[in-house]
Amino acid sequence: MSETSPLTPGPIGSDHPASDRSWRIWTSVFIAGFVLVSLVIGFVILPWRSESGVDPFTAICRALGLPGSEKIPPDPGAAKASAPASNVTWTIETNRLLSNASAAKGTALAKDTCGACHGEDGKSTDPEQFPNLAGQSQAAIFKELADFQSGDRKSDIMAPIAQALTREQMADVAAYYAAQKPDDLRAADSAVMLKVDLLAREGDPKRGIPSCDSCHGPSRSGPEDAPLLLGQSAPYIEKQIGNFGSQTRHNDVFERMRTIAHQLTPEEAHALAIYYHGMPASN
C-alpha cells in the first residue's frame, strides 16, 4: 500500500527503522483517507444529491438513520389514521396475560354466558350468525372481545357482554375455547375453482393481495390476532368480508383486511367463504 514499498521481487526490507516508520505512516494514511472519502460520498454527496431541497445537515441525519429525519412526506390522512383500529397491542403485558390465562377458570363463563350462542364446546348454535370458537386462536378471541369492549368492533349483542368482563376473564375464556376440539375439516378446494384455491394459498401478486393462508392458515404466520378461518360458516365469512370491504367493520390493524376485501369481487368473496367453510377431512 505504501509508495515506498518495493513491490518488485528482490531482497526486501532493510535494517533501517525508517522503513518501518514509513510503512506505518503510509498504510495508515491510505486507510484513513479511504474511509474519509467513503464517508464524504456516503454521508454528504449521495444523500444530498439524491434528495433535492434538503439541507446538508438533514441529509447527513438521514444517512445516519436518525429517527425524525425520514423522507416520508406528511400523510394528509394522518389525522384519520391516528385513531387506532384496535386498542389491543401485542406487548409483553398482553402476551403474559394470555400465557397466564387459565382455561379452567374460563369454563364457568363459557357455560353461563357464551355457550348459549357459541356453544359450550365452541360449536355455535347458529354458525351463520355466531362464529364457531372451538380451536380458534386464543389471541384472536381475546382481541375481538377487547375490541367489542372498546367499541372498535360494533355489535349490539357482544358489546354489553364484553363490557362486563375484565381483561383476565377475556383471556381465560379465550384460553377455554382455544382448547376445545374443532371438527376435523379441510379446505373445500374441490368445491371452488382453481383460481380461488390459488387466491387462498398464493394470493394474487398482480393486485397486491397476499394469500389468505399466510395469516389465516394453519401456520398462522401473520399478525398475532389473525383468526383461523377454516370451519366458520360460509355466510358468516362472506358477511365479514363484505363488512370489511364496506368499512362497516374496521378493527383490522393497519387496514389490512379492509384493503384486501375492498379488492375482492363478490364472486371471489363468496367462493372463498365456501372454501374456508371446509369439508370433512376424511373425504
Partner: protein
Amino acid sequence: MTYRADRLILAHFGVAFAAFALAILLGAWQMTVRSGLEPAFTSPEAYFASVTAHGTIMGYVMPTLFIMGFGYFVSVTTLDRPLPSLRLAWAGFWLVIVGVAMALPAVFSGKATVLYTFYPPLTGSVFYYLGLVLVVVGSWFWVGLMIWAMAGWKKDNPGKPVPLAMYGNVANAFLWLWTTVGVAVELLFQVIPASLGWTQTIDIGLARTLFAWTLHPIVYFWLLPAYIVFYTIAPRAAGGRLYSDMMGRLSFLLLVLYSLPVGMHHLFMDPEHGTGFKFLQMMLTVLVTVPTLLTIFTIGASMEIAGRLRGGKGLFGWIGALPWDRPMVLATCLSFVLLGFGGFGGIINMSYGMNAMIHNTSWVTAHFHLIYGGTVVIMYFAIAYEFWPKLVGREPLSLKPIRLQLWMWAIGMVVTTFPWHILGLEGQPRRVATFDYTNPMIAHWQNWTIVSMIGGYILLTSGLLFVWNLLTLYRGAEADRQMHYAVAVYPPHRVPSALNGFDLCNGLVLFLMLMAYGYPVAQFFFIKDYPALVHRVDLGN
C-alpha cells in the same frame, strides 16, 4: 524438524472430517427434500433440524477444528520448536468436543431448529448456544497458543522474518479473535438470556448487527488456510518457487483488515441502519478484491515459474508443463476457477443496489457454497492429502482416486450451485423446506432443483471417497515425514515490522471497526426502538 504434535493434529483433523462426512450426508438429504421427488421424506421440522446441523457443522465445527489442527502443524513445522503448551492445546480440543456434544443433540432432537445463523427472535435450546460458546472458547486456546508460539520464536530470532506460513497462520488467529467478538456478545448478552427465559424480548436489530460482524469475516477465517497453502505449498508442489514472499504477507494483512469492517453488506435490506454506514461498509468490502487479485497474480506467476522450470515454452506452454497429476496443483487450479465464479456472485451480493435483486434468494446460498465448498474445502482436501502422509508416515497407494475425488468435488459443486444461481434470479427463496411444484408459476423450478440434487449426490460420493482415500493411506508405503514449504525466489532477510507482526494490523482493525460499527452499534443504546418478543422453538411458541 525435531518437534511434532502428530496425535494432537490428527485428533483435530479426524473429528473435523468425521463431522464433515455427516454434514454432507445431511446436505444431500436436504436437496432430496427440496426436490419434491419423495414427498414421504418431506417434513419441515426434520428439514430445519437438518439444515441447522449441516450449517453448524460446516460453519462452526469442521473448519474450526481443521484450522486449529492446521495451525498446530504449521507452527511446529515452520518454527521448528514445540508448541508452547501441549496441555493447553488438548484442553482447547476437549472444550470444542464437549461443545459439539452439547450442541448437536439439541439440534437433532428438534429443540434448536434455528439455523446456524440463529437470527433471533427465534430461539432454541440453551444447550445449543452454550455448546457453540464452548467451541469458540476452545478455539481461543488455539489463538493464544499461536500468538504465544510466534512471540517466543521472534524473541529467540530477533530481526528475522517470521516464516510466511506461520505469519499467515497468526494473521488468521488474530482475524478469528476479532471475528468472534460479535457472535460472542450476541450469544452471551442477548440470545442465551432469552433461551434461558430470563428475558422475554430481544433487540433483533442489535442481534443482527452483531451477527453480521461475525458472519462475513468467518468466511475469511475459513479461507485463510487455503491462501496460506497457495503461497507456501502450491508453488513447491508445482516444482517452482514462490514469486514474492512480500505479496503473501501483504495479502494476509489486507485480508484481516478488509474482511472485518464489512459485514453490513449482509444487512443492506435491513431497516435498522442508515444508508451512510451501509455505503461505507460496501466501499470497504470492495477493497477485499485487492488481496485476492494480488494472490491470483502472485500464484499465477509462481506457477509460471514452475511451468518454465519444467520446460514449458511460449505464452501458455508453461500451463501444460505443470505437474497436473499432483493433487495440490490440481486442487489449487480448481479452487481458483471456483473462486472466480464465487467471487463474481459475491460482487453482485456486496453491491448496495444489485443486492436487492438476489436478497434472501437461492443465489446467496449458491454464492457461499461456491466459496466455501469450491474454494475452501477443496483446499482442505489438498491440505489433508499433503499433511496426512507426514502425520502417519505413509505414502498414498495411488494418486488416481485422489485426483478423481478432487474433480468430482469441483464438478459436484458446479452442478449443485449453478442451478441455485438461476433459481435465485427467478426469485426462489432460501431457507424454505418445500415448494409446491404443482403450482404452474414455479413448476419449472423443480427441474433445476433436481439438477442441484444430483450435484449434491456427486458431492456426497466425492466426500466419502475422500474419507476412503485417507483410510487407505494407512496401507501405503513408508513416507518421508519431513514437511517442506515453498521457497521464495528471493527469500527475505528482513521485512518491515508491519509485515512481521500484528501491532499495526490490530491498530488499523480497531480504527476500521470503530468507524464501521461504532455508531451503528451505539445507536441501539440511545435511539428508542421496539424489541421483538422471543419465540422459543424448544417450547413450541
